[in-house]
Symmetry: C2
Subunit: 238 residues, 2 copies
Amino acid sequence: MEVQIAVAKVNKYASSESGDTLEVVERPNGGLSVVLADGQTSGRGAKAVSHLVVRKVIGLLAEGVRDGAAARAASDALYTDKQGKVISTLNIASLDLHSRTIVLTRNNPSPMFVCLGDQIDRRDEESAPLGTSRDVRPLITEIPVQPGLIIVIYTDGLTHAGERRGRPMDVGEAIRAMVEDQDPSPQVLADALLEQAVSLDENRPADDISVLVLKVTARQGDNARRMTVRLPIEGYFK
Amino acid sequence: MEVQIAVAKVNKYASSESGDTLEVVERPNGGLSVVLADGQTSGRGAKAVSHLVVRKVIGLLAEGVRDGAAARAASDALYTDKQGKVISTLNIASLDLHSRTIVLTRNNPSPMFVCLGDQIDRRDEESAPLGTSRDVRPLITEIPVQPGLIIVIYTDGLTHAGERRGRPMDVGEAIRAMVEDQDPSPQVLADALLEQAVSLDENRPADDISVLVLKVTARQGDNARRMTVRLPIEGYFK
């Protein structure tokens, strides 16, 4: 089997800094975790908040702390630092080679999607962001690693895309259209969702948007691990 | 312009854990850094060392500490922890949007390659690994971000590939053959170098091998940032 993870991310229109932070860390007991946070508001302040949350979570995961405990610790740290006045969403998607599961941790009102075969589950149980109170609990979903599994996680920029024009995005329908007919790679799926959102916002995203797709395939290739990062730098340079 | 970074990584044959650790972090003043460490020996002990070094460097870079200072701090921490008895190589490749340069930091006897146009520079100035003494200095190379720039960095598994069989790999020649005739993507280039090394080791790599390629292109696409990770998990699962 192979686990493939893809991310596509844009800034709010005319904003040079994204309030969304995403990082990947190796788990000391095997596997890796992707951590995504969306700080309240946008621009530099939001960036500082999501950066603080992601750094805290990544540091704890790297020490072997379990995902749920890392999320609670980050919430307490944010609550203490900002006295409950600033909040941040958090999603952690982990491949845990010790338990042989995908562990999904969510402190985010935005739902996530879990697809397997013909089944597309929208997981939208109520979930509070970090920093709102002293006893924030994450929602934890654990799924055995199996070929065909697709997880789609995103920040609320995707949910709110098009709302300004009265044409809100139906994320579930967009996923269904892609997954039913084709066998898209995670990057193709993430790019397509992002593209649809940006298009509904008429190419001027009303908020930062991040889309994270994890897919388990049966494909047998070589044993190499691979990573690619693409960072456009137009706008920063003449 | 766009900066593309690709990594390809295999474990030493029959070893379930790589002594090489590679992680990516966002720089708080804009841009990102890729940090690669190779801990002495192989397996679990080497993993712990390279993990310690990468965590230390990543934590400092995330706070805005400059690359050279982060490398020195990691060396001092390793020296203190292991009393000079365990060493680790370190390479940092940073896109610094503040200075508009690529900053390359090296504490690694293995050379690196800097390609621009027809020029392929082998950078092999003497460079000591971290943890060897109290005053380890990194070699720092700063290059303006410009289309066509290609940087190739690797751990010594690549240099030593084929030595067992008396057919050592000529990394410079392999890069030249790829870059002169084609315009390979960084992933294609990294994969080709790794494949050649693994083949020289007769598909049983004598050491962990990591190859990191950074390329600056003039290509104008959309403004999305993208990341893909591929993690084979055969061998862990039945």
